[in-house]
Symmetry: C2
Subunit: 356 residues, 2 copies
DNA sequence: CCACTTTACTAATGCGCATTAATAGCTTAC
DNA sequence: GTAAGCTATTAATGCGCATTAGTAAAGTGG
């Protein structure tokens, strides 16, 4: 049989004071500090020592209103066996920022019984509410997002999401400028015919697409042509590469490094090399661990500042929680990206240009 | 102005029932299940849906209920930037088991203000209590453990810990049998003079030591000698290796793979090779990522079943939580280890034996 | 010496929930 | 037809604490 913990009331009885007095002593707040005599203070401290009293955080929370719990909802495993998990860098940033802001981190691991994906709403109830606010990673379900918004639950989405019914708070990478920068660099080297290939057409893709068109517009010359389409890695065969290159495309933007790698490989098999015959870049740095180290180093690509994004999300969410009684617009933050690599972009081969 | 979170009272009012009814519906316990009519149940569920009600864990805890929160206390970063974090495999197992047992995972990230280590007691209060129970990883502070025990808070320690004041629940790797197996294998190959080197003398080391002595006792032959001492990687210089080997030691057990690797390197520099001149093995598989791949594959070592240990900890803790009102002995579980590698153990060179 | 302020404390309340005793309506038993 | 037993629900209570509105005692001013 578990024995009960001593409470403030026990301490108070032993010290010969009231429970309120104990509570006041335990919660020093500015001037109140002066209202309890040193003598009483000492009696209470002695009683605390003697009983080995520790405060009950649940009671304190209940009376005070805050949990200092920061929820983290991940649509997938937070700790994948494969350590190169997609979400890991975000979590590093989140953990670090949680420490700074004095939150415990609540990972929503409960699924809804069925073997399916994790959902915010279980039995129709939002179980995120257990936390003061939550960070959402990789949630694809826009319905759930919209519903969360309507409930006015404080949350921050990592990655950009546009929801029809209003603005949500998010922190996103600046794919627009990243893409624009890379393509501009290519065009400055003489490339005129460009290709833009993506895996899924989502909000992030839209940003890249805008950057792509911005670069095209800004470097406009007479005979620009370009191709743009959705693509899977499996589709990137030597034949596909030949089609693209024979169409005259010399500057290629791939959403994922794996796609860029596959293209370079496919092209190599038909005797075209990079950066001699074409230039190529990736518009993310996902899953680099699966590529050869050299490729990971040399490929021009957008580096997503995942760590900073995670930390920024915590920071923003803390703001939303602190201000949760004021009316508050959604906070939307775009974080600059960097570009790494270099040797997969080169000048256009003049001979070819002349031949064509 | 953010509206207050709905409470059971709000749900009750909307559904036209009492708060008690709502609570009863939300806490199904055996036969009580029958005491609320299906009609009322539906009304309440509808109200819950409409309000987006979710339970307040602090209040529930205070009132004696359950949160389905499994605490995880790590003395270090759960998500280290360096992805080969020591704790990662445990967390994989924990997450997986939490999903199976329907717990959310609460990572205690709050530190106690100062820059120091994470502590269970902050301002003298045990902040783990918000979770139904907690898993403790890498806690070195035995005082805190003893105190937790005295409070009868349900927790499971990962790694073996003997506390003076009674038994705590833990899940540990079977270093005893692992060490014994490796040394026996060496001795079966003719090794008689052995060395056992450890990094820190902790509870796990004690188990290895017991295994070491058990193997010695069981394979006893007339002229057994051995050396045993604490060691850091820095101390493992070529000179040190020469000392050890010249003393006639041919079978070496190192606590950490890094130590084994350092020894093999040091020995190589003075012209002694493994397994020709000596056999060596590691008694853990920590930090393998920092060693050359080949070493990681060939070195004989104990593989710690971290994943299984994490999962077992969740399982045990769930048991403790479920039975928390019954008197319950501590649960202590030892999980078998496997041994990997092979090419760093060989037969003793007969010529040397004859010469000596 | 009386009204007024300051000091040092306590009584009372409520946070949101689980739990238990109580109750009202309704059925069965004899 | 009344006692006894169900069934479905609620009222009441307390978990441990923070907070607010007191209040008694001591001090101050004129």
């Amino acid at each position: 049989m578990r024995k009960k913990q001593p409470t403030q009331a026990d301490v108070a009885k032993l010290a010969g004071v009231s429970q309120s007095t104990v509570s006041i002593i335990l919660n020093p707040q500015g001037k109140d500090h002066l209202l309890i005599s040193e003598e009483t203070r000492e009696k209470v401290q002695a009683a605390i020592q003697e009983l080995g009293y520790v405060i009950n955080p649940a009671a304190r929370t209940l009376a005070g209103g805050q949990n200092r719990l920061m929820g983290v909802f991940i649509n997938g495993s937070a700790f994948p066996l494969d350590q190169h998990g997609f979400y890991h860098p975000y979590l590093v940033g989140i953990e670090e920022a949680c420490i700074r802001h004095d939150y415990d981190m609540l990972l929503f691991t409960r699924s809804d019984g069925g073997e399916g994906v994790r959902r915010i709403y279980r039995n129709g109830l939002n179980h995120l509410r257990i936390a003061d606010g939550s960070i959402l990673l990789g949630l694809e379900n826009k319905e759930e997002l919209a519903r969360l918004m309507k409930e006015e639950y404080p949350f921050v989405f990592i990655g950009k999401r546009e929801v029809p019914d209003g603005d949500i708070s998010y922190v996103a990478a600046d794919y627009f400028r990243g893409t624009q920068t890379i393509l501009s660099r290519m065009m400055a080297l003489g490339h005129r015919q460009t290709g833009f290939f993506y895996r899924l057409y989502n909000d992030a893709t839209k940003d890249r697409e805008r950057g792509y068109h911005a670069a095209l517009a800004e470097n406009y010359h007479s005979s620009v042509t370009h191709m743009k389409r959705q693509l899977t890695v499996q589709e990137i065969t030597p034949a596909f590469c030949r089609d693209v290159l024979d169409a005259g495309v010399t500057a290629i933007l791939m959403e994922e490094p794996a796609m860029a790698h596959a293209f370079a490989e496919g092209a190599r098999q038909i005797g075209r090399t990079c950066p001699d015959d074409f230039s190529i870049a990736a518009l993310s740095d996902n899953d680099l661990a699966y590529l050869p180290t050299q490729v990971a180093q040399e490929l021009v690509m957008i580096n997503i500042p995942k760590l900073a994004m995670g930390a920024a999300a915590v920071h923003m969410l803390n703001q939303l929680i602190v201000d949760r009684n004021k009316a508050h617009d959604a906070i939307q933050m775009t974080i600059p990206v960097t570009i790494s690599g270099g040797s997969t972009i080169g000048t256009v081969r003049v001979e070819e240009e002349l031949q064509g």
